[in-house]
């Protein structure tokens, strides 16, 4: 393979071509990504998969419109053709013209967030050894654990972003993930547990967060769910667990603050900066600048540095998450949230790591304060409707709370609510804020990107639990 796929001279010619027919701005997103994935089933490593992709996309922006073309055949000739195809948007809406500035010398990313000097995927024998430790720890934790499926992924993404404003940047982003699903069985009853961790780091991460710990947690959840009862249906006072409960912030608030929805006026938060949108106990920010978190990058996929963005401060809406296009149209600055799945996609405003700082309540006291409620300790995922703010979460580990004490576990039920409504019903914020284990991926508009979430335990006065038992 080529080492530096694109030179400054070549990038300059491609940008010049991109803007020849008009257009305000152009960029080239060139990406080389290599990932190794191993999976384990039935006590044996079942498969080793290698994925290697090299390609680039050229974008031309005019007003609120973008022309795009990518190529998987990497050569200057193909990229010039892509630039000409992307320029079709300018021919369609010929209203602005601009010239590309001379590209500055390439700027390499800093390595404060992750080690950008690792140039090779982890050795397969290390990945295999970690999987084997995971499986044996899960199996030996309890005889009721009858099935263990595990996978490990090590990925390096290199990218070169050249922009018509002259900036030319390079970054190399690592990512590792170790995930394990345990299936527990007792007669006809089954329970499953899942746990995964990793981040923008290397397999050395698993020296401190060991495969035994991850496997043990997965097995523990499977055993909890083995004894779980069908969940009740109805409205309950609800505690959302620290860490993984951050899926609430991501779904119920974060998506509604993405710049594209707000610029188009289709979000319920559109035009509401400065207004009260949540209980004054609620503060939420998005931060792409936290070492090793999945959503962290030195700069986003448009080459803009990632930062710390206040979304909600003591209940008041403070800002939106922006990429370059939507920020410009709204007269704001990009917050470094322009992200894309790969060179095959246009950037969109996306969350990085969404977080709520701690409050003062103690978990034990929060549990003791509830007469009949639900403790949703962790979530397996969620989804939201942007215009109305209705969301769902799938509970991975949850319990009933009865007369101030934790009761039986509930089988994987769904919680449904409305984002703005739930945010006004936050009645207590725990002192136990933390980031969730690092394995979340967010989907939007057909693109998946890695994200981080975190929060303290929250008490919400009423949420609907979608169980099968009459309340």
């Amino acid at each position: 393979m080529i080492d530096e796929p694109i030179s400054a001279e070549s990038a300059q010619r491609i940008l010049d071509r991109a803007l020849r027919d008009g257009g305000l701005f152009a960029d080239i997103f060139c990406e080389r990504r290599s990932s190794v994935r191993m999976s384990l089933q039935e006590s044996a490593i079942h498969e080793a998969a290698l994925s290697q992709n090299l390609g680039a996309g050229v974008r031309v922006v005019v007003g609120e419109s973008a022309g795009y073309a990518y190529t998987e055949e990497f050569s200057e000739e193909r990229l010039l053709e892509a630039a000409a195809r992307a320029a079709a948007i300018a021919r369609l809406t010929a209203e602005s013209s601009s010239r590309s500035a001379r590209l500055e010398p390439i700027e390499r990313s800093h390595d404060r967030l992750y080690d950008r000097n690792r140039t090779e995927n982890a050795a397969p024998r290390l990945l295999a050894a970690l999987l084997e430790r995971t499986e044996s720890a899960a199996r030996s934790s309890d005889p009721k654990i009858v099935g263990v499926n595990a996978h490990i992924v090590d990925e390096l993404q290199e990218l070169w972003i050249a922009r018509s404003d002259g900036s030319f940047r390079f970054d190399r982003r690592p990512m590792v993930t170790l995930g394990v699903q345990c299936i527990a069985r007792n007669g006809k009853e089954r329970g499953t547990g899942y746990c995964a961790d990793g981040g923008r780091t290397s397999v050395a991460f698993f020296d401190s967060m060991t495969p035994e710990q991850i496997a043990g947690e997965s097995a523990r959840i499977a055993l909890v769910n083995l004894d779980a009862r069908p969940a009740p249906a109805g409205e309950f006072e609800t505690l959302l667990g620290a860490g993984g409960g951050g899926v609430l912030l991501h779904e119920a608030v974060g998506h509604g603050l993405e710049g594209d929805f707000n610029r188009r006026g289709v979000s319920l938060y559109s035009g509401r900066i400065g207004e009260r949108v949540a209980s004054e106990l609620v503060t939420i920010y998005d931060d792409g600048d936290i070492p090793e978190e999945r959503g962290s990058t030195s700069f986003d996929d448009e080459g803009t540095p990632c930062g710390h963005t206040f979304l909600v401060e003591r209940g008041i809406l403070r800002g939106y998450l922006h990429d370059e296009l939507n920020a410009r149209l709204m007269g704001m600055r990009s917050t470094g949230n322009g992200r894309r799945q790969s060179f095959r996609h246009l950037p969109q405003p996306r969350m990085c790591n969404t977080y709520m700082p701690p409050g003062e309540a103690q978990l034990e006291e929060m549990i003791a304060s509830i007469d009949n409620g639900i403790y949703a300790k962790s979530f397996a995922g969620g989804q939201v409707d942007i215009g109305k703010g209705d969301f769902v979460f799938m509970i991975a580990e949850g319990y009933r709370i009865e007369r101030g004490r934790l009761g039986a576990a509930v089988k994987n039920a769904t919680i449904v609510g409305n984002g703005p409504d739930a945010m006004t019903k936050v009645t207590e914020v725990g002192n136990d804020a933390r980031f969730a284990r690092r394995h979340y991926t967010c989907g939007k508009g057909g693109q998946s990107v890695p994200v981080g979430v975190g929060m303290p335990t929250l008490k919400i006065s009423a949420m609907s639990l979608g169980g099968t038992e009459g309340a």
Partner: protein, 447 residues
Amino acid sequence: MREEEARARAQRAVEIAMALGASDAEARIVLARRFSAAARGERVTKLDLSEGRSLSMRLFIDGRKAMLVGTHWNDDEIRSGVATALEQARYAAVDAFAGLPEARDLSGVDLGLYDRAIEARRDEERLDDVRAVERSIREADPRVDNSNGSQYSDACVTMALANSRGVLGSYRGTQIGIAASPVASDGAFKRTAHYGSAARFLAKMDAPAEIAREAVRRTVAFYGARKPKTQSMSILFDREVAAAVLDDIFSACSAANVAVGNSWLAGRTGERIGSDLVDIFDDGTIPGALGSSPFDAEGTPSQRTPVFESGILRSFLFDTYYARRLGAQSTGNAVAGGIGPNTFFLAPGKASLEELIASTQRGILVLETIGFATEHASGLYSRGARGIAIRNGELAEPLEEFTIAAPFPEMLAGIEAVANDLKFDGSITSPSFRVAEMQVSGSSSAP
């Protein structure tokens, strides 16, 4: 011709792998020309014209298996990728079931998957379609005051497959999709819906104005919606959400999930699980359907597989590997990296959706669900939903912010009516159907 080029590259990749020491090898090449556009208001806001080509290979060496996927194309790129993948294969376990399927003759099947009219479309015609959708959503209802953008996409795809057992096949297919996302203000909220239509043939597409009208109908349907009380009642799944239910049933029928204990259907072949109306098929041979292809990703010719017949579970869906592992025959469901549907569908009934509504005493017509299954072992269905109340056979007020839930076996056993509105517009599709009783969870039922 591109199809010849794709076949030659696939064969060459197999040769390279064998020369590097693989005991067996398989290569798939996908060439695609994709067009997509979005419009909002008067403007075309996105125009994307891209050419893709990708390689995916399965390599076998001394009973071990490795995969290689990516943008490798020339001999050097393939050689380098294969060498690394073979090195990684050493860490996989020897697996007696791993290997290629028997070679079958893949020539001579034409399912009518390619539409020259799509290939011949001019960009201006495509943009006219997406502009027409955008215009029509505003004309359809005065309450529509905004749009999240209308979308148009089409693609011409060539697939070629070769392996070291002498398999060589290829086919071409087209697809086209149009979707609308109207927005209507309802007090402080924005009502949105996303609705689209897809086909392999331009002539089979719904007209842009029709797509726009249906999207708008689904957007304004929820004006003034409220939360229902917690109770149990009949649930009528509209065809769009019925397809999402079939998606979960497909996952439970996939041998990859069955083999690792991640399916509530594991070990239940031959049992009566659904009602008499539950006839579910996977069919890769329906002429012109989006889910059809002459053969699957590893060269097994497509077939029609009865999955449920009159409620009895007949078969899981297999690729060659899981078929060998579970002692069955491949059903032609191999996709890149696993098992996937051809056209997986519930057989239609005779009555119209309107007749199903009219025969519902007390229930909800569910038009949207949100949420997804995160595991398939427990067999519990629980989703957020929106719909229209049905009382005494008539549609009443809109409802939202509630969940519907039931164990899957009870849900399938409870299917008491199936509509006649099946369309082959996706790989997983369903007519509307009614489940006799499910738990609805909304506001407190206490007085």
